[in-house]
């Protein structure tokens, strides 16, 4: 459908004004709290190039190991680098990795999940592969893949995607299997719709709620797992500070300069908490089982 088509379509405005779902979301405390927490972190990370007091890698040896103070709210590290800048820039990288994992999950999780849920012949093979991947503990699998590929940002993204795509695919498969049996899908078939139209127009749009919820949790797990991989030295090169790398670097000085690990740790915890609250709120509002009216 072309853009002109879309614009000329009446009802578009009605679609963009907040519907009952959005209003219900804004009344959900968990969602609003999560949105505030995660939103704050995301905006700060986004604005890092403009609000960082210094370059995150600028060293100043005479300011080594400064405790948090008015001048250095989050202190400085062993090379005198300003932790405010490093945490802000680190957030950029962590969120970027999380976002990539979410996007790859959205694409591959949806494609594989929809294929498995809709085409019965593909269900067995695809889900056995998913089972095999899910039989490994998530972090262990990620470590294995990251170790095989060598440390880099791309490695982390790939490793985490391999870990989480099967889970997303499973969620989507389950929803597709439920929606596939709905009367309106049968009605669409009776109106002459083929597999493609059925899947993309009638089934997938009705699977969005669980997908969105799942992706919000994947985002949180990806940020956590990225920290673990980086902490273990399998993440991005140490010059680019992600939160996991900051914690790894601070570990050696945890007795003398605890702020080096506490600050990025709190950043991770805030983000993950925010995303989880967000996901809980989304699930409460969007989960069809709780939809009594409508």
């Amino acid at each position: 459908m072309s853009a002109a088509d879309l614009a000329g379509r009446p009802g578009l405005l009605a679609r963009l004004t907040p519907g009952p779902a959005v209003r219900r979301l804004l009344r959900n405390r968990a969602f609003v709290a999560g949105l505030l927490l995660f939103g704050t972190v995301a905006i700060l990370a986004l604005l890092a190039p403009w609000i960082s007091p210094t370059d995150p890698n600028r060293m100043a040896v005479r300011f080594r190991f400064r405790e948090p103070s008015w001048d250095f709210p989050f202190g400085t590290d062993n090379l005198g680098r300003n932790m405010v800048s490093r945490v802000l820039w680190g957030g950029r990288l962590s969120l970027e990795i999380g976002l990539w994992v979410v996007m790859l999950n959205a694409v591959f999780g949806v494609v594989l999940g929809a294929a498995a849920g809709y085409f019965r012949r593909l269900d067995g093979p695809l889900m056995r592969i998913a089972d095999a991947l899910m039989a490994f503990p998530a972090v262990l699998l990620a470590i294995g893949i990251a170790a095989a590929l060598g440390p880099s940002v791309a490695t982390v993204v790939i490793a985490l995607s391999v870990v989480y795509v099967p889970r997303t695919a499973r969620v989507l498969r389950a929803s597709v299997m439920v929606v596939r049996e709905q009367d309106y899908v049968q009605a669409a078939r009776a109106a002459g719709a083929g597999d493609g139209r059925i899947l993309f127009r009638h089934i997938l749009p009705n699977c969005m709620a669980p997908l969105i919820v799942q992706l919000s949790f994947v985002f949180a797990y990806a940020i956590l797992s990225e920290a673990v991989l980086s902490f273990l030295g399998l993440g991005a090169a140490p010059t680019t500070p992600s939160w996991g790398i900051l914690i790894a670097e601070g570990r050696s000085y945890i007795r003398e300069a605890a702020w080096l690990t506490v600050v990025p740790g709190v950043a991770i915890a805030t983000t993950v908490l925010g995303l989880n609250l967000l996901g809980d709120g989304l699930r409460d509002v969007l989960d069809p089982r709780l939809k009594v009216d409508a």
Binding site: G11, Y184, G192
Partner: protein
């Protein structure tokens, strides 16, 4: 309703001719026939009513005609001729093209038969655009026209409503508008009014009746409600346990039912004019299709059975003009 001219539609080839249709289902490793060598004809413009209890195979027959049997069901034998072509031999692509364009279908549950995430206008337009070379704007105009024709007030405004903004009766009207948007020759209506309350049922039947005249289409209406049959159908096929028990024009069927099952069915329908204390019921239950009784499937519940009933499947025998019954004693009963 005046009795239809029976001979006229029978002269030309029927629009739909189902012959010897057997549909089997695989469940827990066993194959069982939900529909067993069923046959009937539908002439152009005619309304055929199919009555029967749940599990008698009436819905399965409709789904077989649409080519929409569930994954574990398949047509084991028979022919489904629509306008002379056997639908069972049609490639999937051609069959898809036929659905919604030449054959429309409406379902029992108006509350769940519309996609909740799109406006009703989108859904009608989608069907039209899919089948005809028509721009979206023209398709929208057609959709407005269709909604108006099925009696939806301020159709243009309702076009952008979502299904949840409409009542069950209104949604069923939308389903009808969608099914008729491409002027099909045949409409399959599977329990179209069962889920609606009684006043709405009557309105919808009137509507369907007007529309089928207007569009000159044939209708197969599937129901367990004799009232719907009496009001709407020209001819009736009574299904029992996957077989046709009796087939007749409406009036002879109600006046002179030839099959004991049909008689039981009619006797168990409540009547306002009769002063009955309790309803008559047919003793027993429909046989398990996985292990049907030999011979006549109604025999175990039949009050007039003789020994021969349990031996062979009774053939459909003519007992009147266009009136056939699968009962070896049909001749005596009708006389």
């Amino acid at each position: 309703m005046t009795p239809p001219l029976l001979s006229a539609p029978l002269l030309s080839a029927p629009l739909l001719s189902v012959r010897d249709l057997t549909v089997t289902f695989r469940a827990e490793g066993r194959t069982q026939a939900a529909v067993d060598r069923v046959g009937f004809d539908v002439a152009a413009g005619e309304v055929l009513g199919i009555v029967g209890e749940s599990g008698s195979g009436k819905s399965v027959t409709a789904l077989a005609v649409m080519g929409l049997l569930p994954a574990n069901g398949r047509v084991a034998s028979g022919e489904i001729l629509f306008e002379g072509t056997d639908l069972l031999r049609l490639p999937a692509r051609k069959m898809r093209d036929l659905r919604g364009r030449r054959i429309g279908m409406i379902f029992q549950e108006p509350m769940t038969s519309l996609n909740p995430v799109f406006t009703i206008g989108d859904q009608i337009v989608e069907t039209i655009v899919h089948h005809e070379r028509l721009g979206r704007r023209a398709a929208r105009e057609r959709a407005v026209d269709m909604l108006a024709r099925v009696g939806i007030p301020s159709a243009r405004r309702r076009l952008d409503d979502y299904p949840h903004q409409m009542s069950g009766g209104m949604r069923q009207r939308v389903m009808i508008a969608m099914a008729l948007a491409c002027s099909p020759r045949l409409l399959l209506a599977d329990e179209p009014t069962t889920a609606l309350d009684v006043t709405i049922q009557a309105q919808l039947l009137d509507l369907l009746n007007d529309l089928r005249r207007e569009f000159g289409m044939a209708v197969v209406v599937i129901t367990h409600n004799m009232g719907v049959i009496a009001e709407f159908a020209d001819r009736v096929a009574v299904f029992y346990a996957g077989r046709v028990a009796e087939e007749a024009p409406v009036e002879p069927l109600f006046d002179r039912p030839a099959h004991p099952y049909t008689r039981g069915l009619l006797a168990s329908t409540p009547r306002l004019d009769a002063d009955a204390e309790r309803l008559v019921t047919i003793p027993g239950a429909m046989p398990n299709i996985a292990a049907p009784p030999p011979g006549c499937r109604f025999a175990p519940r039949c009050g007039v059975k003789v020994e021969a009933c349990e031996a062979d499947r009774p053939p459909l025998v003519a007992v009147g003009d266009g009136h056939r019954a699968a009962c070896i004693r049909a001749g005596e009963a009708a006389a």
